[in-house]
Symmetry: C2
Subunit: 280 residues, 2 copies
């Protein structure tokens, strides 16, 4: 199988690494807007050949779009214009509503499979690519009824090689769900980092006391702006909705503490503890 | 060395485990309000002898108080009343201002060393005790000038056996710092868990999509109410202060998103990314 990857970051790079290692891809063509990322990917053997975008589009049996969602939305119609009827296009962005909407009615819509492999780390760039990153994680295919059966089948096969567990959602529900279980976590972490970093301006060495708990909660604040801002923007309504609820919950807690309402705080924490049942 | 531990939870249990294993404690006496916890600690050999509180106070060369801070504040004066001049009392609570204030001027204040070993997990109870939990973590000793030199020396030696790195703070600064780098993280997580659990009432299977990022951010929401509510209550002013700043930061982000201010959001995330420099 010939694989083209547009966007050689953490995800594109890790995909290349394991799809070659596990025998799915015989030849990998890569393009990245950044010559440094592209050159690095060739240098360390993530890809076999550096391409222009058009060459990448024409050469792959599968063309994977692994760029921030705002860029993916811009290039996807053009990519579909340029492929032939046997090629398949897969995007791996974290929001699916706006991108599926963008190519609704496109004459080659059925050659496109909207995917969201729920894997990653807080690092970015092809130098952060790691083997095994997708193993055991969830792959969501959205609006699969709008794609050709053989295209979905090939996409599934590719992600099964990465040991992912496939689920099917419509793109609307997908975006609601990920606002809760992924996007909100990132906003929490970014805001937490800001809060503590601001304080540090006046009080040096505040981080000498940073505990494992803090590290765990703030880890996602290391995530890349170029990837995440387009996600928030493309899932604006859901993120605003869930963020509003989150701020309310914090204000509830604040009021309990202001009132010295010990029982209220106990109930609040016990209620939150129910997360144990759903998350090991 | 004879060691008495009042409070046989995660911390008391883990302390017992490694202080025996590493040869610091020859004999360990234990008391817990819960007969189940106390019986379990004896059963699995965390302690050598089950005691009443008074027996525990009289038998140990070192008496460690490992109960929630609200309970520790209540019992500490009485514990100091009952020890002799050679014994040492150490508490290991997460807030230090109110407890140090409580025994200011006590005739045996100098036999007490106010400690905060910054270690733990989201689990609780002696059945969660683990070896190595304290290794490499920070130990903060507060207001050490109010303790006898030999008492501080012995406390340091005990925590050095646990491979902890000792730092000295006054109790006021300690409480400000931990509000930022520990207490706030817990409030964030509790509120995040509540937000997503509420949503789940209406939308089943929302957790099928839970990512590693979510798990990391929400982990602390599994933490125990009996321990944490007294911490918030005893560090009320600092927690309210930092929580207010955090809510403001979230509202800032919300406004940027409402305004589709891409550049503003990029700056926000890039600013948060500075956490990389201080936290590996």
């Amino acid at each position: 199988m010939k694989l083209s990857i547009i966007g050689l970051g953490l995800l594109g790079g890790s995909l290349a690494l394991d799809l070659r290692k596990r025998g799915f891809a015989d030849e990998i063509f890569g393009y990245d807007l950044s010559p440094v990322s592209q050159g690095y990917a060739k240098q360390v053997g993530l890809i076999d050949e550096e391409c222009t975008m058009d060459e990448a589009i024409s050469k792959g049996d599968i063309v994977v779009i692994a760029v921030p969602v705002s860029a993916a939305i811009k290039i996807l119609p053009d990519v579909l214009n340029k492929i032939n009827d046997n090629q398949i296009v897969i995007d791996i962005c974290s929001t699916k509503g706006t991108i599926c909407e963008r190519v609704k009615g496109h004459s080659r819509r059925r050659r496109y499979v909207a995917c969201h492999p729920m894997a990653g780390t807080e690092n970015s760039g092809p130098w952060s690519a790691i083997s095994g990153m997708f193993d055991g994680k969830a792959l969501i295919i959205c609006d699969s009824e709008d794609s050709d059966e053989d295209a979905v089948k090939t996409a599934r096969r590719m992600f099964e090689v990465l040991n992912m567990n496939t689920m099917f959602f419509n793109s609307f529900n997908h975006d609601v769900h990920v606002a809760y279980v992924s996007h909100l976590s990132h906003v929490c972490s970014f805001a937490l980092a800001q809060t503590v970093l601001d304080k540090e301006r006046n009080e040096k060495n505040i981080f000498s006391l940073a505990s494992g708990g803090f590290a765990s909660t703030v880890r996602l604040a290391k995530s890349n702006a170029e990837m995440w801002v387009p996600i928030f923007d493309n899932n604006k309504d859901n993120v605003l909705d869930v963020l509003g609820t989150y701020i309310e919950k914090l204000q509830n807690f604040k009021q309990l503490l202001v009132n010295d309402d010990i029982k209220g705080m106990m109930d609040y924490v016990n209620n939150a503890n129910r997360i144990r049942k759903v998350l090991k």
